[in-house]
Amino acid sequence: MDKFEIVVAGVGGQGVLLLGSLLDKAARFDGIKTIVGSEIHGMAQRGGPLVSYTRLGEDVFGPIISVGCADVIIGLEYIEGLRNIERLSKHGCMIVSDTKRPSSTMWLTDSPYPEKEFVLAAMKKAADNVLVVNADKIAGTAGNIRASNVVMLGAAVAGVEGFPISQESFMDAIRMTLPEKLVDINIKAFKAGVEATS
């Protein structure tokens, strides 16, 4: 593999950084040698946007996924997915959770959260593949809506062509990373995500 690049985008509190570290670690379990992860998390705790990059493969030397290069964007929320779409390669895949996280400052300008159809149309203009996953609902059925991010991970692994990391390695990474009491629910959520796009 020369290069495979994954963007995870969301809002602080949605678990963007957890997905970043699961991606890095799972790639390691699969024996991928070059793994460069990157995140910027200064203001995210105060409701700001949050992005994590995971870059894999021998042609990777720096931490940033530049414009037009990502193979996958995992959007944990519509607008944050769309905010990062310029990173996506033409043949890449946007996989987005059917989730809306309004910003409290929206009320000041009386501009409502954009219609989902509007967002999806914009996404389709930029990307060949757009996949919507009802992650909150799937996570809720699996046991906890907070595992919605891990549902998206499962959905990406199974639903995105050429995703280079195995499901087994993700489950190992989940077991290794999360506190024991949260492991079962997250494994369940991961599998439910896989099922949703298989």
């Binding site: 992860g37 995140e39 200064g42 940033i64 414009v67």
Partner: protein, 626 residues
């Protein structure tokens, strides 16, 4: 990422880390005796990790009151003969520079590493300074890592270099190294060493360490000599990485951008020799001369200032005057903000007249068109934040007819609408110092805001100045018991020290009284009525007024309630009473409050039950859910 991995004593094991954590581990492997810091993004995880590791390894760690003090703490250790490290963000270097730039004149007996983290792109900082230049200005040998592996190795190397030179050495990181994730191999940690200095009372210490002109002249010569030695060491440093290929094109680069340059070469299918600088001061002059001698074209790829570029342009005049150099100086690379691969691709394609393999222009144009849909998501004060309540009350009490001076911390987020308390904020301590100046010429009352940690950091000298010069203004000290913005590090007001050790709690009001402030009030931040009355009264007072507005950070209230298993109250809007005046949204703006048709609503799972909105609702429509 996991303290369990980092506290391992097993050498050879692999750990998954952030660049920041790699620096902390490097300090432990180098055998640091004392580490000090003032927290600040993007450096925070270095100090937080050191704080944790100090529980398991034999070294002292402290959160200092500010960066200058932190640097002096490290200087004291290194002068006496110990091994010290001081950590801060780029702006912290400015605060510490008085101590650092003077320390070079005395030199040290042990070793000392200064870790400073720059932020190209200003992700959460208010400046984009390039500290590589400060290394040059201050005679501080400077190492610049590009990834977590180098971050650890260079930390260890910085200690050994410092010991050799008897001078402090700087490790300069950028946010993309600080917050870069990767895998490092752990090295061994020295066993328990004796960390006590038997101070020699008969030694004439003053001849070297008391800085007066007579001792600084030889000190100046010593530092120049040390830089010459550092220059020699730099020539053979393994951190200088040169990859020669058969090509007339060369790349000169430094730090994290090195990777973007390599990727750009791949994307454009260009062959070039690459010179990666590991030590940015002094520079390996001989090696650089040799490198540029055989080239026709040189690209200088570096973030922020054209530091290498200007140096290599000067060198080229002697050794290869015909070489074409492409950098910032002639407009091929942008001066400001963070780079990525696309920046290098565009510059090289322009200079070499190559086709750009990715349609950047088209993609960027399409992104511009999206701006109507992609609303901005600025950081905001959290649900239930006591700072919001304090700032709201301050504005109401003054009816918006005041100058509001802000300071560095979460509370500065009260500057934009809807709260609008914040006309000026420059740097740590601004709220007090700038108010003193405004006092002389402004015809409106001055109401300023500072947090607990920032008050101790650099608010205190300003307050003494205000009392002494009989300034007329009102200062709200917002005491939420946390350095919230940077990740809840303790500070003197919390009575907790680094490594979670108990410390002596410094009481803000005692300090204020001791400084001679006559008008002092202490109010609960959640009591809007009392706060408004206090601000009104203080503004009417001729002279310095201080209001300590106190309430624990909302995030800490939430985590405490979870820990104790006690549910917090929740509020709701009674739709029959709400008349849609929107004060709770356009005047207050707590995130869980939203518009539901003609009336307001509260998203229950985001409400933390402070009840402040219920106090300010004119229709009494907000009520606790029973």
């Amino acid at each position: 990422m996991s303290i369990e991995e980092l506290k391992s004593r097993l050498s050879g094991a692999e750990a998954y880390v952030l660049g920041n954590e790699a620096v902390a581990r490097g300090a432990v492997e180098a055998g640091v005796w004392v580490a000090s810091c003032y927290p600040g993004t993007p450096s925070s995880e270095i100090s937080d990790t050191l704080s944790e590791l100090s529980k398991y390894f034999d070294f002292e760690f402290e959160y200092s009151a500010n960066e200058k003090v932190a640097a002096e703490v490290a200087a004291g250790v290194a002068i006496a003969g110990g091994k010290s490290m001081v950590v801060f963000k780029g702006a912290g270097f400015f605060v510490a520079s008085d101590a650092l730039f003077h320390l070079v004149y005395s030199g040290i007996s042990g070793s000392m590493v200064i870790v400073a983290c720059d932020e190209p792109g200003l992700h959460s900082s208010a400046d984009e300074t390039d500290l590589r230049l400060m290394g040059r200005v201050g005679y501080l040998p400077t190492l610049v890592p590009s990834n977590p592996i180098e971050a650890k190795e260079m930390t260890i190397e910085a200690f050994s270099l410092s010991e050799k030179l008897k001078q402090p050495v700087m490790l300069r990181l950028t946010s993309r190294v600080c917050q870069q994730r990767g895998f490092i191999e752990l090295g061994s940690v020295p066993g328990n060493e004796n960390h006590t200095i038997d101070w020699d009372c008969d030694k004439p210490w003053w001849q070297q360490f008391v800085l007066v002109p007579a001792t600084c002249r030889p000190g100046r010569l010593r530092s120049i000599e040390a830089m010459a030695v550092a220059g020699e060491i730099c020539e053979t440093s393994t951190f200088t990485k040169i990859t020669k290929v058969d090509s007339d094109i060369g790349i000169l680069t430094c730090g994290v951008v090195h990777g973007y340059a390599l990727e750009a070469l791949n994307l454009l299918n260009v062959k070039a020799s690459v010179f990666k600088v590991g030590m940015s001061f002094p520079l390996p002059e001989k090696k650089l001369k040799e490198f540029i001698q055989g080239l026709d074209q040189l690209f200088v790829v570096e973030e922020v200032e054209p530091y290498l570029e200007l140096y290599v342009r000067a060198l080229a005049k002697d050794v290869n005057p015909n070489i074409q150099i492409f950098g910032k100086d002639n407009g091929y690379f942008p001066l400001p903000f963070e780079y990525d691969t696309s920046v290098v691709v565009k510059a090289m394609a322009k200079a070499l007249q190559l086709r750009v393999p990715i349609e950047y222009d088209k993609i960027e144009e399409r992104s511009k068109a999206l701006q109507e849909i992609v609303f901005p998501r600025p950081p905001v004060l959290c649900a239930g934040c006591p700072h919001r309540a304090s700032a709201y009350a301050a504005r109401r009490a003054t009816k918006g007819k005041a100058v509001y001076v802000q300071d560095v911390g979460c509370y500065a987020l009260a500057s934009p609408p809807p709260i609008n308390v914040g006309d000026i904020e420059l740097c740590m301590g601004t709220s007090v110092g700038v108010s003193c100046g405004l006092n002389y010429i402004v015809d409106k009352p001055i109401v300023s805001v500072i947090g607990d940690s920032t008050f101790f950091h650099s608010g205190m000298p300003g307050l003494v100045n205000a009392v002494y010069n009989e300034v007329n203004f009102t200062l709200l000290v917002l005491d939420n018991g946390a350095t919230g913005m940077t990740g809840f590090q303790p500070n003197p007001a919390t009575g907790i020290r680094g490594g979670d050790k108990p410390g002596k709690k410094v009481i803000i009001e005692d300090v204020v009284k001791g400084m001679g402030v006559e008008d002092l009030k202490i109010v609960d931040s959640y009591d809007i009525k009392a706060l408004r009355a206090a601000v009104k009264d203080s503004v009417a007072f001729e002279g310095v007024s201080v209001i300590v507005s106190r309430r624990k950070c909302a995030m800490l209230i939430i985590s405490d309630s979870k820990e104790k298993g006690v549910a917090l109250p929740v509020y709701r809007v009674d739709p029959d009473k709400c008349n849609g005046c929107w004060l709770c949204i356009t005047g207050f703006g707590c995130p869980p409050i939203e518009k539901v048709g003609e009336v307001a609503g509260i998203v229950a799972e985001n409400c933390m039950g402070c009840g402040v909105c219920a106090q300010l609702c004119p229709s009494k429509a907000i009520v606790e859910v029973k």
